[in-house]
C-alpha cells in the first residue's frame, strides 16, 4: 500500500496513528516504569533489554503451552522477576559493577532466548503463533474523535498493562514505600541510619522493576504480535531506559514519553510506505534519532537519584 501525501492531513490518518501508537507504547511503558522503580532505589539496570526479551519468550512459551494469554503475562512477569532477583543478588549483595552486570544480562538474554526458541519451537520462517486477545470496545467513549480509538478500542492485554502502569504511578504517588524507595536511592546512609534495610529495599525494587520489564516483554509478544522471534524486542528495553531519563524519574512524564515514542514508531511504519523522495531507512532510524534529540533538549542539568549506580556498604559491615 502506498500512502498518498495528502492523506497525512486527514483526521482519519492521525486517529489510526495515535491508536497504534498507544498500542505500541504499553510494552515499552511498562518496562520503563519498572526501570524507574529500580533506579529510584539507586540501582541502574542496563539488563533491561535482556530481561524484557526473557519475559517475552517466557510469556510466549507460557501462553503457547497453556493456551491462555493471562498465563502468558504471568509467566513473563515471573521470568522477569527471577532475572531481576539474580541481578539484584549480583549488584546489591555481591556488589558487582552494575554497568558490567547489566550489559552481560542483556547480551545473555538476547542469546539464550534465541537458543531456546530454536530448540523448542524450531527456526522455521513461519513461527508458531498464539491468538492475540480480542478488542474490548468501551461504548460511547470509543467514538470520541482522535483519542477514541486510541484509548477505548484496544485489546484486553493493553488495558491490563495500562492499568498496571497507572496503578504503579498512583501507588508511588501516595505511599510510604515511595519515601523509603527514594531514600535508598537518594541518601542510603541516612535511610540506613533511620532503620531501613537499604539492601533489602534495593533487592525488592530490582526484582519488582524487572518483573515489570518481563511483563512488558510478554505484553509485546502475547498481547500484540502473537509470535516470538530472536531479537523481537529490537531495542525497546533501551528506549525504555531512555524514557526514564526523558521522564525525569516521574511516572506521569514517563507515560507521556512512552505514548510519544509509540506514536513516533507508528508514524515510522506508515511513513515507510509514503510515496516520497525520502528513503524509507531514514524513517526506521527516526525514533532513535528523535529520542536522542529529546534527551539532548531535556538532559541538561537533570540528575537522577543521587546514589544511582553507587553500591551501598554499611559502615559497620565486616567486608
Amino acid at each position: 500500500m502506498i500512502l498518498a501525501q495528502t492523506e497525512i492531513t486527514t483526521l482519519v490518518f492521525w486517529t489510526a496513528v495515535l491508536a497504534s501508537g498507544v498500542r505500541l507504547s504499553v510494552s515499552v511503558g511498562t518496562a520503563a516504569i519498572g526501570e524507574m522503580i529500580t533506579e529510584r532505589a539507586g540501582v541502574l539496570n542496563l539488563g533491561l533489554e535482556g530481561t524484557m526479551i526473557i519475559g517475552a519468550f517466557a510469556g510466549f512459551a507460557a501462553a503457547f503451552e497453556s493456551g491462555s494469554v493471562w498465563v502468558g503475562l504471568a509467566g513473563g512477569a515471573l521470568a522477569g522477576g527471577a532475572v531481576g532477583l539474580l541481578f539484584g543478588l549480583l549488584v546489591v549483595m555481591i556488589r558487582v559493577d552494575q554497568v558490567v552486570a547489566g550489559l552481560s544480562i542483556t547480551l545473555f538474554g538476547l542469546a539464550i532466548t534465541a537458543f531456546l526458541n530454536t530448540e523448542i519451537y524450531g527456526d522455521s520462517p513461519i513461527p508458531p503463533r498464539v491468538p492475540t486477545p480480542s478488542i474490548l470496545r468501551i461504548p460511547l467513549l470509543e467514538d470520541l474523535p482522535l483519542i477514541g480509538e486510541a484509548f477505548f478500542q484496544q485489546n484486553r492485554v493493553a488495558y491490563v498493562a495500562g492499568a498496571v502502569i497507572v496503578g504503579m504511578a498512583w501507588f508511588l504517588r501516595r505511599s510510604y514505600s515511595t519515601i523509603v524507595l527514594d531514600a535508598a536511592g537518594e541518601a542510603p546512609e541516612a535511610a540506613d541510619a533511620a532503620g531501613h534495610r537499604v539492601t533489602i529495599v534495593r533487592l525488592v525494587a530490582t526484582t519488582a522493576g524487572s518483573a515489570l520489564a518481563g511483563l512488558g516483554g510478554a505484553v509485546l509478544v502475547v498481547g500484540q504480535l502473537g509470535f516470538f522471534n530472536s531479537n523481537i524486542t529490537a531495542g525497546r528495553g533501551w528506549v525504555a531506559l531512555a524514557l526514564v531519563i526523558f521522564g525525569r524519574w516521574r511516572p506521569t512524564w514517563i507515560v507521556v514519553g512512552a505514548v510519544f515514542f509509540g506514536t513516533l514508531d507508528a508514524l515510522q511504519f506508515r511513513f515507510q510506505t509514503l510515496d516520497s523522495a525520502i528513503p524509507f531507512e531514514f524513517f526506521i532510524a527516526l525514533p532513535f534519532v528523535v529520542t536522542l534529540v529529546a534527551l539532548a533538549i531535556g538532559s541538561r542539568g537533570v540528575h537522577g537519584p543521587s546514589a544511582l549506580g553507587v553500591p551501598f556498604r554499611r559502615s559497620t559491615e565486616s567486608s
Binding site: 555481591i94 534465541a114 532510524a285 532513535f288
Partner: protein
C-alpha cells in the same frame, strides 16, 4: 596472608568462574540432547587444532581486538561507549565510499582505507561525544541509540548512493586495490598484524603517556581530574574519538579482508561482542588480546559444532555472556574474601 595466596587467588578465581559458566552451558547442551563433553571437545578441536579453525579464529578475533582496545580505554575511564557497532559500520562505509571509486596502488589504498575507517568511526562517535559533553546525555544511551540508527542508514547507503550499478543486490562496489593481502603460508589476511601492532601501541600509551594516566585517573575519580588536570569535556571527547577510530578501522579491516563489499550484512555484531572482550580483558590491552582470541575460538568451534550436531551457535553466545557474569562475580567474591582475611590476620 602471604603474597602467594593472593596470586593463586588471582588465577584461581577467574579459572573457576569460567569453568562454572561452561558447566551451566553444559547443562543447556545436555538439555538439548547432546553430550556436553563431546561438544566442548569438538569446539576445542575445531577451533584450535584444525588449520581452517585457527585461521578463522585469528581472522574473527582481529576486529574484536581492535574494537575491544578502543572500548577498554573508555571503560577504564568509566566512559561507557557501547555503540561500537555503529562506529564500525561508519568506518566501513567511509572506506568503501572512496576506495570503491578510485584505483590506487595497493599500499596507498590500504593506508588510505585505515585512515578513512578511523575518520568514519570517529565522526560517528563525535556525534555521541557532542551529545554527552555538551547536552549531558547519558553515555550508554547516546552511543547505543546512535548504533541503532546507523544500521538502517547502512542499508540505505548500500542500496542507494554507494550501490554497485552492475549488481542486482543492494551492495556496494568491491574494495578493489584496498583488499588486504594474505600473510604468506598462513592464508589469513594481514589484519591480525595490524591488531597486534595496535595492542602494543595501546599498551605503551596506557602505561607511559599522560593520556594513559588521565584515563586511569578519570575512572578512579573524574572530579579530581576535572579540577586539576583537564577540561571537563576534552578527556571524554578524546576517549570517544579513540574508541570510534578503532571501531572504524575494524570496519575497514573486515571489509578489506573478508567481505570485500559493504551491504546490510556488514553489521554482524562485532561491536557488541567487543564489549564482552573489553570487560573480560579487564580493560587491559594484553587482556583484550587474550579474551578476543579465546572468545573467537569458542564461537568458531561452536559454528563447527552447529554444522556437525545441529546445536545452535546462539548457545555459545549466551555462554560468552555467562563467562563475564561468572568472572566478575568470582572476582568480587575473591576480593571480599581477600579483605576479610587480611583484616583477620594482620601480617
Amino acid at each position: 596472608m602471604g603474597y602467594a595466596t593472593t596470586t593463586v587467588r588471582a588465577i584461581a578465581a577467574p579459572a573457576l568462574s569460567i569453568l562454572a559458566a561452561l558447566v551451566i552451558g553444559g547443562i543447556f547442551i545436555a538439555w538439548a540432547g547432546e553430550n556436553p563433553l563431546s561438544v566442548y571437545r569438538l569446539v576445542v578441536a575445531e577451533s584450535l587444532f584444525e588449520r581452517t579453525g585457527w585461521r578463522d579464529t585469528l581472522s574473527r578475533s582481529t576486529p574484536l581486538i581492535l574494537i575491544g582496545l578502543g572500548l577498554a580505554v573508555g571503560f577504564k575511564a568509566s566512559v561507557w561507549n557501547i555503540g561500537a557497532e555503529g562506529q564500525f559500520v561508519a568506518g566501513a562505509a567511509a572506506a568503501i565510499a572512496v576506495l570503491g571509486t578510485v584505483d590506487l596502488p595497493s599500499v596507498i589504498a590500504i593506508a588510505l582505507g585505515i585512515v578513512l575507517g578511523a575518520l568514519g568511526g570517529a565522526a560517528w562517535a563525535a556525534i555521541a561525544a557532542m551529545l554527552i559533553t555538551r547536552y549531558e546525555v547519558n553515555d550508554v544511551i547516546a552511543t547505543l541509540l546512535l548504533a541503532f540508527a546507523a544500521v538502517p542508514l547502512l542499508n540505505w547507503v548500500a542500496r542507494g548512493p554507494l550501490k554497485d550499478p552492475e549488481s542486482f543486490l543492494p551492495q556496494t562496489r568491491q574494495v578493489g586495490s584496498g583488499e588486504l593481502p594474505d600473510i604468506p603460508w598462513l592464508d589469513t589476511h594481514i589484519g591480525i598484524i595490524f591488531a597486534l601492532l595496535a595492542v602494543a601501541a595501546m599498551a605503551w600509551v596506557m602505561r607511559a603517556t599522560r593520556f594513559g594516566y588521565l584515563v586511569r585517573a578519570h575512572g578512579a575519580n573524574r572530579n579530581a581530574v576535572y579540577a586539576n588536570e583537564s577540561r571537563r569535556s576534552s578527556i571524554t571527547v578524546g576517549i570517544l574519538l579513540i574508541g570510534g577510530s578503532f571501531a572504524g578501522i575494524a570496519g575497514y579491516v573486515v571489509l578489506a579482508g573478508e567481505q570485500l563489499r559493504v551491504s546490510g550484512g556488514t553489521a554482524t555484531g562485532f561491536g557488541f561482542t567487543a564489549i564482552i572482550v573489553a570487560i573480560l580483558g579487564r580493560n587491559n590491552p594484553i587482556g583484550v588480546l587474550a579474551s578476543a582470541v579465546g572468545l573467537s575460538a569458542l564461537l568458531v568451534g561452536a559454528e563447527a559444532a552447529q554444522r556437525q550436531t545441529g546445536l545452535s551457535v546462539t548457545l555459545m553466545q549466551a555462554v560468552q555472556a555467562l563467562i563475564v557474569i561468572c568472572v566478575v562475580t568470582g572476582n568480587a567474591l575473591a576480593e571480599r574474601r581477600g579483605r576479610t582475611s587480611a583484616r583477620k590476620s594482620p601480617a
